[in-house]
Symmetry: C2
Subunit: 570 residues, 2 copies
């Protein structure tokens, strides 16, 4: 297999370990990266020639940019292989990781070659360098450190310096992490009731690793009811682990071999990338969606079977083994809710191509616009390929209790349920938490008459507040009626419109103690998009918007000053 993920787990020899410990490694790797950069430049120039050499038919040469990118990816992989063949064993891991990191930049570079900064890759390297030079860690350990650091840097800064009304008014406000903080009062009150505090022997001892039977039974009943399943779901097909990312990681482990891939409509939830990489070494192949409305794209970022077919074809062309399709419904970060017809089409596409479908329905009860109907795949009378359709759900979003670390799998395949169940040994949740979750999920009356109506009402209000503000600022956004976030377009604040400028704007928000998520974290192919979480209390939301406006104002001000300075130079 040609791609680099497959090389991560290869054992490295003693020599490589020695090399890693050598302080000179930085210089060596830098040299290699410069070489890689030069090769990227060369290939960018040679692209048309290369494609002719690959015997692509004439009409393909005029195709959309994302095909070009895929080809470029392929070429980069070739280069990584070339580097690997020259480098001592251990280095290949760092180089391939870095090349993953760089792909977004290469893409933007391709679209805006004039704006590409030669030092960019080196800059990224220098950002993460300290984690590399390790005396105590293995190569893999160093790699994980880098990956974690680059994925969770901002989140960790927030954890250490949270905004608090009474204690820390200068701390971070987090509209970047998707959490529902609107109904903590209701949840706290419910969790405080006496039925929650049972402490039985069975809760204190080693559990059934698939999840306690009483909780799996309750989850089966709950999903039967809220997903409108045509028949009672089977508790034996439920697996409970500590969070939906653990479920996703376990699915990647048991459905794929290392280096195999899933298709993922993109932009997509960034947590999947870390979860599929840390252990499973499964590649997520983006099915790029576009904001522009065209004949094939009746709404922004529309997912069509054509696009799925197209990416699958490309993947096969590149000799990549695709094992599944990952869907999120309602979608994150777009907020789209798939119609029953679309859903059926996607599932049939998967069935035709022997693909598993992992469908994450973690926002299923967070559809707050009453005119929209959510359709769970579990509601379908006849699933195209039931044994290969796997549903993930948890309480983090719909009940605003991400701290409970609860994720559930429902699959019709007993084999997959049993295989994922094995992971409970390292991913189980405490018995007392399982008890509380069971009590919560079984209280149908409270959920239907108190919790859900209140939650939806508050989501509507917060959504309206943010969308009104965005309208007044003339910031385009996707107006959907589901999820906890809005996908907004800040393109007009970027000049030039590149991922580097997106990164700088993102940094500016952080400097003003406001966390937002930028499009690149979702592998979005168009720079300028951000995800803004609105499910926060009015006071905090208001203050966040204040900080948000301040940054945009500063950004505009800087422009003007720059323009003035440029004009004066001329």
């Amino acid at each position: 297999m040609s791609h680099q993920s497959g090389t991560f787990p290869a054992p490295c020899g003693q020599k490589a370990c020695q090399v890693l410990k050598d302080r000179n490694i930085c210089i060596q790797v830098l040299v290699m990266i410069q070489h890689l950069q030069r090769r990227v430049d060369e290939h960018l120039k040679q692209l048309p020639t290369t494609r002719q050499r690959l015997h692509l038919p004439k009409q393909k040469q005029a195709q959309s940019t994302h095909e070009q990118e895929a080809l470029l990816d392929h070429l980069i992989r070739q280069m990584v292989n070339f580097l690997k063949s020259r480098a001592t064993g251990g280095l290949e891991q760092q180089v391939s990781l870095l090349s993953l990191e760089c792909r977004g930049n290469v893409r933007s570079a391709q679209r805006a070659q004039s704006s590409r900064q030669p030092g960019q890759l080196v800059l990224q390297w220098s950002d993460i360098e300290p984690a590399f030079v390790s005396h105590d860690l293995s190569n893999r350990g160093s790699e994980i450190c880098v990956l974690y650091h680059s994925s969770f840097q901002d989140y960790n800064a927030y954890q250490g310096d949270k905004y608090q009304e009474d204690k820390n008014t200068l701390g971070f406000i987090n509209l970047g992490t998707s959490e529902n903080k609107l109904c903590i009062d209701l949840i706290t009150e419910r969790l405080g009731q006496s039925d929650m505090n049972c402490i039985e022997d069975v809760l204190l001892q080693y559990p059934d690793w698939r999840g306690q039977p009483f909780l799996r039974e309750e989850v089966a009943r709950f999903l039967t009811y809220y997903c409108k399943a045509p028949a009672q779901l089977d508790p034996e097909n439920v697996v409970v682990l500590n969070g939906c990312c653990s479920v996703f990681s376990a699915l990647a482990m048991v459905l794929c071999d290392p280096g195999e891939a899933f298709l993922v409509p993109t932009p997509f939830y960034g947590g999947f990338a870390f979860s599929s990489h840390l252990y499973a070494k499964v590649e997520l192949l983006p099915v790029h969606l576009e904001s522009e409305i065209t004949e094939a794209n009746t709404h922004p970022f529309q997912l069509t079977v054509d696009k799925l077919e197209h990416t699958l074809l490309q993947a096969r062309f590149m000799d990549k083994k695709v094992r599944g399709l990952v869907l999120t419904n309602p979608q994150n970060p777009l907020g789209d809710v798939y119609s029953r017809e679309s859903l059926k089409e996607y599932l049939e596409f998967a069935k035709r191509n022997d693909l598993h479908v992992i469908i994450d329905e973690i926002y299923m009860l967070s559809v707050f616009d009453e005119s929209i109907t959510f359709h769970s795949v579990l509601s379908m009378e006849r699933l195209p390929d039931p044994n290969r359709t796997h549903v993930i759900w948890g309480t983090s979003k719909d009940f605003g209790i991400s701290g409970f670390r609860f994720g559930a799998l429902y699959t019709h395949s007993k084999e997959v349920a049993s295989a994922v169940g094995s992971f409970g040994y390292l991913h189980s949740i405490s018995g007392i938490t399982q008890h509380k979750l069971c009590q919560l999920l079984r209280d149908r009356e409270w959920i239907d008459t108190i919790y859900l109506p209140t939650n939806h009402f508050r989501l509507q209000k917060a959504h309206a507040y943010i969308t009104n503000t965005l309208q007044s600022l003339r910031i385009p956004f996707l107006c959907r009626g589901s999820g906890l976030y809005i996908w907004i377009n800040l393109k007009k604040y970027l000049n030039p419109c590149t991922f580097e400028e997106e990164r700088l704007l993102h940094r500016r928000f952080l400097d003003n103690k406001l966390m937002l998520s930028c499009g690149k974290a979702y592998m979005c192919k168009e720079p300028g998009w951000f995800r803004l979480v609105f499910a926060d209390r009015p006071l905090r939301l208001k203050l966040a918007i204040l900080r948000f406006c301040e940054v945009l104002e500063e950004q505009k001000q800087d422009w003007k000053e720059k323009q003035l300075a440029d004009a004066m130079k001329e």
Copy 2:
């Protein structure tokens, strides 16, 4: 690298996947195993010749059996490689897994060649066959299923059919899993107090992935006090994950590259094998200890630096990269508590050889014999290599709350703490559980004046009850004053004394609804040893002993009948 673990993560081609799905696979693999068997036989015969060819000095040829075994291991690996080179890609994983499974049998075969049954390996294969033929899982997924199934089969049977005084008197009594069920009354009462039920916002939201700061602070204070640390331990060096096996798995991930190894004095806790294999693909190299008392072995199963040096040398001879030494203190399953001098020697050995030391002190407060003093490595004034000494502790054993899924790491290395902290994303515990743990650990008065004295008193009583019974049955055992278990020798009930007979006796206990752990699960090199957990309530313990005696009586009866039948044949 020559050994098979390193090959697990290698991506397998399309062809291998097809082969796996082919129903004919069973036949093909069986043929290979028969071939492997033949080769084992051949090599057993050729062993002296082979060793001469390897130019071992004369005196080495007369060395103890475990050296022979190591050599045999090496030869088996060579055979696996030979099989791999012939087999289509995907099969190598199954073959190597199977060969791991078979090693114990090969060893016993070496000692008791006359008793070796040719169908033995095939029998094991047929036990696990159903999990192999999968249509929904990847090769890796199938492999994990097999590994899990073979490790947790009995445990899962117990989960589905537990003995209950009022409801299920014919269910399994579990003296196999190390749990302390003696103080559930005290723990339940303490957990029921009002300070436990706090529900703050911070507990309901996404956490600091290293563990909530308040809990890490409490763990640092707790360990400072109970480990008698010379200076206050630093909460920044604490990481909290969902169970000690998660901590061990994470350490294996960040200290080793795939295929590298840890030394482990053996017999050792079997959970480590699953935890180091599932994700990290780290090999555990047994440092075999022997029951016989000799000049070098002043007490049974004594760990000496000589034995460590010897195994390390062997490993290097076989080109194996050893990254660390794993110790458990108090030892599981032996119950040994290391003296300060021994501990220092082991740490200095590690330092001399550039090895990390992972020391699992999970039974540190379960030393119930007052004449024994436990020494934590954290109590040492001057650790030989502080940045490479990593301590694991949790509440599962000492507080009898394994259902809480809590494990903590303390390491002096900020790098290692940070790297292991990354794993919190997929291995964290719920906020409300973290709060309860914090309240429990901070209640020093309750722990010191109520919990620990009562727990130790009850452990003493249960231990005395079991040891008296064993003495009356004339069953040899190690009489230690720590842990929740006794290491007993049932050799005299095996005829012949092989691992196969051990397995059959173990099965007989299970058939009589009694779970014990057999020595093979701890990689013990001598057949006939079992671990018996005594930390259970008197009534259940009494009933368990009844079942235990029944089985041994049956076993004796069967012998007599067999002897009679043999005599009549003659």
